[in-house]
C-alpha cells in the first residue's frame, strides 16, 4: 500500500490525474487518509 502511495506522491498531479487516484481509492490501493493527503497537498 505504501508503495502505491509513494508512486502517487511522485506522479500526481503532473503525470497521474485525480481520476486515477479515484480509481486507486475505489480499488483500495490507496487509503482514504493517503488520498486526502495527496489531494490536499496539491491544492
Amino acid at each position: 500500500m505504501k508503495a502505491v502511495f509513494d508512486l502517487a506522491k511522485k506522479y500526481y498531479p503532473q503525470y497521474w490525474s485525480k481520476e486515477r487516484l479515484d480509481v486507486l481509492l475505489a480499488k483500495k490501493k490507496l487509503t482514504q487518509e493517503e488520498y486526502d493527503i495527496l489531494v490536499k497537498d496539491k491544492e
Binding site: 508512486l7 511522485k10 506522479y11 503525470y15 480509481v23 486507486l24 480499488k27 490501493k29
Partner: protein, 150 residues
Amino acid sequence: MILQLANNIELDLVEYNTENSSDLKFVVRGETIETIKNKFVTENLKTVTVIDLLKRDEYTKITDEGMIDVPATEERQIIAEFYDRALGKEITLNIEVDQITIHLVEHTLTDKVKDLSDQLTQAQADIAYISVLSDIDTTTEEETSNESSI
C-alpha cells in the same frame, strides 16, 4: 500576405521581420490571444510559410485581333519557409488596430531534451499505474483460483 502553418492553417499577415532567424516577428490581424495559442501549437509549427498574394484586377488587353478581357487573377508566392518553431514568450495585442504581434523562436536542444524527458516520465507513470491495477487483477485471479480448488 498570408502566414501559413502546417495543417493548412492560414492567418492574415500584416507585417513580418525574418532577419533574425532565431526570433521571427510576425504581425497578424483578425486573431485573439486565445486563437493564437490554439493555432501555434508544436504540431502546427512544424512548417511556417510566409506567402505573398499577387493580385491582378480584371483588365482589358488590346491585341491585333481586338480587345480581350483578362479576368482577375490571384497568385501565391512563397517568400520564406521555416521549420520546427515554437511560440515565443510574448504575444502583444494592439486593440486599436486589431493586430497581434508574435515571435517564433527556434526549439533549443534543451527544449527537445525536456520534451523527451517529460514523455519518458509520462510513460513510466503510465506503466506504474497499469502495474498497480494489474496487481489488483492478479490478486483477484489467484483468489478465484483458490476458491475453485476449495
